[in-house]
């Protein structure tokens, strides 16, 4: 999928934002779960739980083929994610060179795949509109991106 690198970058930005935000609010919860649940609330509200569950299931199926550490993860009927933190609590949290926590590869891929499906169905403008409901502009800042961090 040609859009995947772009979505991967966007997933990195959102996860990085949540890692930072999570330090003070919910430190025990993984950034991946926080991003996922925000998407679940937002998409579920406008499209319905069943629509979100379908998208999430598809995204997880795609992600599992690229990230074997997601093999035990499941999407519940209400769209929530099961097994990510329970199976291996810290599997999706890694530390960068500076010692900051960051989301694991599996989490990045899962969120990127979910965003990719939104982009596919709704287009960039609407997808970003939806994301801006839950994340401030700062979350989309280039410094949170994979490229931004490398620079």
């Amino acid at each position: 999928m040609t859009t995947f690198p772009k979505m991967r970058d966007l997933a990195h930005r959102l996860l990085a934002y949540e890692v930072t935000a999570g330090k003070t609010s919910e430190p025990a919860e993984s950034a991946t779960l926080r991003v996922y649940d925000k998407l679940r609330q937002d998409i579920g509200a406008f499209a319905g739980v069943a629509a979100f569950e379908s998208l999430a299931f598809r995204a997880l199926t795609q992600a599992k083929s690229e990230a074997p550490d997601l093999w035990a993860v499941q999407v519940a009927a209400d769209g929530s994610l099961r097994g990510l933190g329970e199976f291996e609590p810290n599997s999706n949290i890694e530390k960068n060179e500076a010692g900051e926590e960051q989301a694991g590869e599996g989490g990045v891929i899962l969120i990127a795949r979910l965003l990719g499906l939104l982009l596919l169905f709704l287009g960039e403008a609407l997808t970003l509109s939806l994301l801006r409901v839950k994340w401030p502009d700062a979350a989309f800042d280039d410094s949170n991106s994979e490229n931004g961090r490398k620079a």
């Binding site: 406008f46 499209a47 069943a50 169905f121 509109s129 409901v133």
Partner: protein, 502 residues
């Protein structure tokens, strides 16, 4: 009660081209409306247009989706329309899915959820799509009536204009509590006729509004729904008082036959068989108008505008320059799948755009053939409405029509449309002295004292030239096979065309 004591009902733009005119100037604010119709008839698109036209961040629109089309797919498709502005989401337009509540709970819970969201957002517009799926669960009539009434009251109290969208069949109109409570009922229909789809819109009721009755054609394009009022949007226009000004053809002898020219605001029909010069006369009429500063529109169906202008050049008439100067528009209309109302709307738009005073339709046969088969049944009625509307605002219309040449009859039109016209000029071939020559006669001129003469004419490089005076030496001219009466022509019989007033 005086007018100033009455409550003023604001009218909201529908966002649907042509629909404001049909609903009497706009949709009443705070009204509770139903959009009904079969699947694919354009209900959701129409609602979206209204939402995008009226939602603001201060007074947003809430679009509740229920079971039915997935909101994600709905947005995927709706954003293809040009009216869809993604920047309006989510501040001005919010989509909320009620499927779970509808599936798991009762109507009271649904009402509670809608009310909660409405209280939170203070919306100007509320849409429930599809309402039909929401009330499909078994419940008593009383429960349903109560739910609808409470919903209508709640949304009106919150000053929201509401649309409930539902897939209903026409036989459900009776005894349905939803339709009783609604202030407005919009019914969208689509039927297949031969190879065409005919879409019609009807405002079955709209409280407090002077909506245009009847079925109105509509079309769904990349701009969304576009409606075509049966009155072509001219009902609100003040009708021009009748004027006695005469419009010249630029052919002095013909003007004399018409008691000085065509009366302004008349509908003129030129009928004749192929090659008799109907289009030449029409071209001279429009060119003379342009020369005199009366802007014109020519609607052609059988040849392209370039060819039409070239043919005019061969008659010494320049149609290129006035086109460049915006004084003349030649419309080429070969819509094939368009309705007659859409085609006529194109003509009306062109007339209104340049303020045209003369309109040529060349020809009615081509016009009818250009329409999709499903709309041909409406042709005469729609033509009547357009002619009535345009002549009412002072536009003079000249239409050409081809008639079969018969040597036993003298038909004016194969379309039985002569009742639509004020004036009829008939052209025909006659066999005289071993030649096929052409004669012209003014058959009818409503309210005018036209000449009764039958005149011979020729078509030259200068257009139509009327020869001599009336043909008195022949009898049975209109049969096409006259007999020489032996009388020595014009000297003995003074022409009876009327005196031209100075």
């Amino acid at each position: 009660m005086s007018t100033q004591d009455r409550v003023k009902i604001n009218k909201l733009p529908t966002g649907v081209p042509g629909l404001d005119e049909i609903v009497g100037g706009g949709l009443p604010e705070f009204s509770f409306n139903i959009i009904a119709g079969a699947p694919g008839s354009g209900k959701t698109t129409l609602a979206h247009q209204f939402v995008f036209a009226n939602a603001t961040p201060e007074r947003p629109a809430l679009y509740f989706t229920v079971l039915g089309e997935s909101a994600i797919k709905m947005l995927r498709y709706q954003q293809q329309y040009t009216f869809f502005d993604p920047a309006k989401l989510p501040d001005s337009i919010r989509f909320i899915n009620l499927s779970q509540i509808v599936l798991e709970k009762d109507l009271g819970a649904v009402l509670g959820e809608i009310t909660k969201e409405v209280e939170k957002a203070n919306p100007a517009v509320v849409v429930v799509d599809s309402f039909r799926t929401m009330v499909r669960k078994p419940q008593s009539d009383m429960e349903l009536q109560s739910f609808i009434q409470r919903l209508a009251l709640s949304l009106a109290s919150w000053q929201a204009t509401t649309f409930l969208i539902g897939e209903y069949a026409e036989d459900e109109l009776r005894d349905n509590p939803i339709f009783t409570v609604a202030d407005g009922l919009f019914w969208l229909r689509q039927t297949a006729e031969r190879n065409s789809i005919v879409r019609k819109l009807q405002i079955i009721k709209l409280r407090g509004q002077d909506s245009v009755p009847g079925l109105h054609t509509f079309r769904i394009t990349d701009a969304g729904v576009q409606a075509f009022s049966r009155t072509f949007g001219l009902t609100a226009r003040k009708r021009n008082p009748p004027r006695d000004r005469r419009l010249s053809f630029g052919i002095p002898e013909l003007d004399k036959m018409l008691d000085g020219g065509v009366r302004e605001g008349d509908s003129v029909l030129i009928a004749g068989s192929s090659g008799t010069g109907k289009s030449v006369l029409a071209t001279q009429f429009i060119a003379e108008g342009v020369r005199l500063g009366e802007l014109g529109i020519v609607a052609v169906f059988e040849e392209r505008p370039e060819a039409y202008a070239e043919r005019a050049t061969s008659l010494g008439l320049d149609l290129e320059t006035p086109q460049k100067e915006g004084k003349l528009t030649i419309l080429y209309l070969r819509p094939l799948d368009l309705s007659v109302d859409e085609t006529m709307q194109s003509i009306l738009d062109a007339v209104q755009k340049i303020g045209a005073k003369r309109l040529v339709i060349d020809s009615l046969a081509g016009f009818e053939m250009a329409l999709s088969p499903g709309f041909r049944a409406d042709f005469r009625e729609s033509l009547y409405r357009m002619i009535f509307a345009l002549t009412g605002i002072g536009v003079t219309i000249l239409s050409t029509v081809e008639v079969d040449e018969s040597f036993t009859e003298f038909p004016f039109s194969t379309y039985s449309i002569s009742f639509l016209t004020d004036d009829i000029i008939r052209l025909r071939y006659v066999s005289i002295d071993g030649q096929l020559r052409k004669i012209m006669v003014v058959i009818k001129m409503r309210g005018g004292n036209h000449a009764k003469d039958i005149r011979e004419y020729e078509i030259t490089s200068k257009g139509v030239i009327i020869l001599g005076k009336r043909l008195t030496e022949y009898q049975g001219l209109i049969s096409g096979i006259p007999v020489n009466s032996g009388r020595s022509e014009q000297k003995k019989e003074p022409s009876d065309h009327p005196q031209i007033k100075a």
